[in-house]
Structures are given as C-alpha cells and as structure tokens.
C-alpha cells in the first residue's frame, strides 16, 4: 500500500546528461505503446530513480505498517480475530518482501534500502505514525487505510514497470481480504452496545482525515505527478483517487450508522460526487517531518528489531558457510 510520492528531492543527476535524446524518445514510445519495461531494458536514470524511491517507500510502509496492528495482537477480542489479524500482519510482511524484490531488479540492494529506512533517509507512509488506541482502530485501519491503499494500488497493477506491476497484482488480491476483515470488525461493533458503537465512531473520527492524506498532496502541489503520468507509473492524479475513495466510502459509513467527521461532506447532486472540507496539510507536513504522534516510537522499534535479529542473520550465514565448506 501507501505510495505518497514523498521525498522527491534530488530529482536530477549527472548521468541524466549522458542520455541521448533518441534513447529517451524510443523509451517514451515503448511506454506510450503500453509495452512493459523489464529489469534489464534501457531506461532513463530518472525513471529508475523514481521507481526505486517509490517502490522502496512502498515496501518500507508495509514493514512499518505491521506495528500499529501488532499493538493489538495479544489483545484481540477472540481467537478468531487474533488468527485473522496475525494472517493480515503476515501479509504485510509478504507485501514488503515482494516490493523489496521488485526494487532490487532496478539495481539497488536490499541492504541499501533497509539502511536508508533505519537511518531515516527513506520515508514511509504518513498514516503509520498514528496510534491504535482501541480495538476499533484495527477495524478502521482495515476499512479505511487498506481501502485507500486499494484505490491507489489498483492502477499500479498497470504500471509501465513489469516487476512492480506484477508485485502489485499479487498485493491487490490480498488487500481485499484486509479491507473486508476491517469492515467486518466495525459491523460487529456497530451492532453492539452504545459504548461499542461510540468506539467505532471515535476510530472513524481519528482515521478519516489521515486516510485522505494517504493520497498525497493536492494536484496543485504535486510537482512530479506529470512526469510519473507520462511514464505511466501513475495513472490517476492524487485528487482523482482521493475523490473516488470518498465516493465509495461515505455510503459504507452510512451503512454502519457512522458519520464521517466532516460537515462539508455532502453529496453534490450536480457532479454526483461527495464534497469534502479542507485537509489540514500542515498536519501532513509535520507527520512527514517526523513530528507525528508515533514517528519516534515506530523508528525505534524497527531499529531495535533489526539489531535484535542481527545474531540470527549472522548465525544462519555462518552455518551456511560451514556446510558449504564441508561439502566442497
């Protein structure tokens, strides 16, 4: 899930100047013809860099995204819910791995990407810096966060870069389970006691706006969208996808008997779309800068997990080397 097109500095590179206009033109022609670009094909360096950044951010988001949900694993309300949540979190790890492997085909190493995440150089989706305070938050994440992710990801299945597109096909198939299990949690809570329903409403109140921010800055602010569109990495603009998400999600909230926390959210009969109030982009910028409610906690946990696993990685390697030496 979760590509916001963050961290877009350093767009140009010395190597860009060495590319011939003819090569770039031939490349664009292939893209325009909807041909897929494969790992070893010639591609502009800027295309390669854009993809490495986008795919690795996407992978990091999957990996960090396990934390907010992991928070409720030991406190899931039933064995069934616990087993489901465990399977979902395992999927997130799997998605991270598919994506890292897709990014590696572009010539970046796994170690480099993991190093960039741990050092704070690489970004991950802003959404995972919000806390999961109640069990209803697990429902809201599945319904809203994974719902927003699906909106974003379905067009990525047709992305011009083959390995990324193929990873996304696999991910989208699994993401649908994530969204439904989240909605199912909320259906149950909304059928429950007034306290349970209030808990669901509170989760919606807190997750609604951050979910809308997942689509990234508005089109007017999104500087690199045009190039990504021309390269067919991106198929729809941030605002288009956000609108689509709102249009499908508001009726679902109504089904639950919940209200999205936006007084301006009413159906515009002329356009057939729901309107929405102003998004607090300052909050978005702050969260990206590292000042969200949980940024520090998430990074610390990830770094500790990496350090705690070091002896396992070393032991497995030593064992493999010893066995290889014996066999030789």
């Amino acid at each position: 899930m979760y590509t916001q097109g963050l961290d877009q500095k350093g767009q140009s590179d010395k190597r860009d100047g060495l590319e011939s206009a003819a090569d770039r033109k031939a490349f664009q022609k292939r893209v325009d013809a909807e041909e897929k670009i494969e790992a070893k094909d010639w591609m502009p360096e800027a295309y390669r860099r854009t993809l490495i950044r986008q795919i690795s951010q996407h992978a990091h988001s999957e990996i960090i995204g396990m934390q907010p949900e992991g928070n409720w694993l030991t406190r899931a309300p039933s064995l069934k819910r616990k087993a489901i949540l465990l399977a979902k979190i395992q999927d997130e790890a799997g998605h991270g791995l598919y994506l890292y492997s897709a990014a590696e085909t572009l010539g970046v190493s796994r170690d480099q990407m993991v190093g960039d995440l741990l050092s704070g150089k690489a970004k991950y989706s802003s959404i995972f810096n919000y806390p999961t305070l109640t069990w209803a938050d697990i429902g809201a994440i599945g319904w809203l966060v994974d719902g927003a992710a699906i909106m974003n990801q379905i067009p990525l299945c047709r992305c011009s870069y083959g390995p990324y597109a193929r990873a996304m096909v696999r991910i989208c198939k699994e993401e649908s389970f994530h969204q439904r299990q989240g909605f199912d949690i909320l259906v149950e809570l909304c059928k429950g006691t007034p306290e349970q329903k209030a808990m669901a409403q509170d989760a919606l109140n807190r997750w609604w706006w951050p979910s809308l921010m997942m689509f990234g800055p508005s089109d007017a602010e999104s500087k690199h969208s045009a190039q990504s569109m021309a390269w067919k990495i991106k198929r729809f603009s941030n605002d288009e996808l956000r609108q689509k998400f709102i249009d499908v999600t508001v009726p679902q909230a109504e089904f639950l008997g919940l209200k999205v926390p936006d007084d301006e959210c009413i159906l515009d009969k002329q356009t057939g779309h729901y309107r929405h109030g102003e998004i607090d982009w300052q909050e978005f910028i702050e969260v990206l800068k590292g000042n969200g409610p949980c940024n520090k906690q998430r990074m610390e946990k990830r770094r500790n997990a990496h350090e705690d696993g070091r002896w396992v990685r070393e032991a497995a390697r030593a064992y493999a080397e010893k066995r290889a030496a014996k066999a030789a």
Partner: protein
C-alpha cells in the same frame, strides 16, 4: 550496515500439476533450504503452489535485452515455419 547480505534466490512456482513452473519473485536466504522455506512463506500463503524451485540469481544466464533484435533475428525471416504461410486449396478439408 555491517551484515553481509544473504544471497538472492529467484523463486519459481508450479500452481498445480499439469502447469509449468512460473517465476514469482525473489527472496534472500542464507542457504538452499532456507530459500525454499522462505519462498513458501512469502509466495504461497494462499495455496498458490504445489511445487517450488529456487535458484541462486547469480546462477541464471540471461540474454541481453540490448541484443534482442540481433539475437532473435534468425527466426524473423522464416515465416514458412508457420502453418498460415501455406495456402490451402479450395475444397481441401481436415488439413
């Protein structure tokens, strides 16, 4: 990052008997057995396979996309290899 990276393996999965193995993606693993286990956990969580091959990525020999045109050129001008090259006379059936 002081760890030395585990080797990369390419993963191929047969989704059911009767079909050939198909490339699914790649994983890192310290050795062959770990590669198989990790490939199973990563790529077949929903019974997507009945058989897995893993092979060290460094062991794969691949054609160079830059040479695609020249490399596959010998097949280009042999249209007589396709049945549609031949005109079937009117009235002839089952050919």
């Amino acid at each position: 990052m002081t760890d030395k990276e585990w080797p990369l393996y390419e993963v191929f999965i047969r989704s059911k008997s009767g079909l050939s193995h198909r490339h699914a993606g790649s994983i890192h693993a310290a050795d062959d057995q770990m590669a198989l286990d990790a490939a199973r956990d990563t790529y077949t969580r929903r019974s997507e396979g009945v058989s897995i091959w893993v092979v060290r990525s460094s062991q794969i020999v691949a054609s160079d996309p830059a040479d695609t045109a020249a490399f596959f050129e010998p097949a280009e001008d042999k249209i007589y290899r396709h049945p549609t090259f031949y005109e079937v006379p009117d009235g002839v059936e089952n050919l």
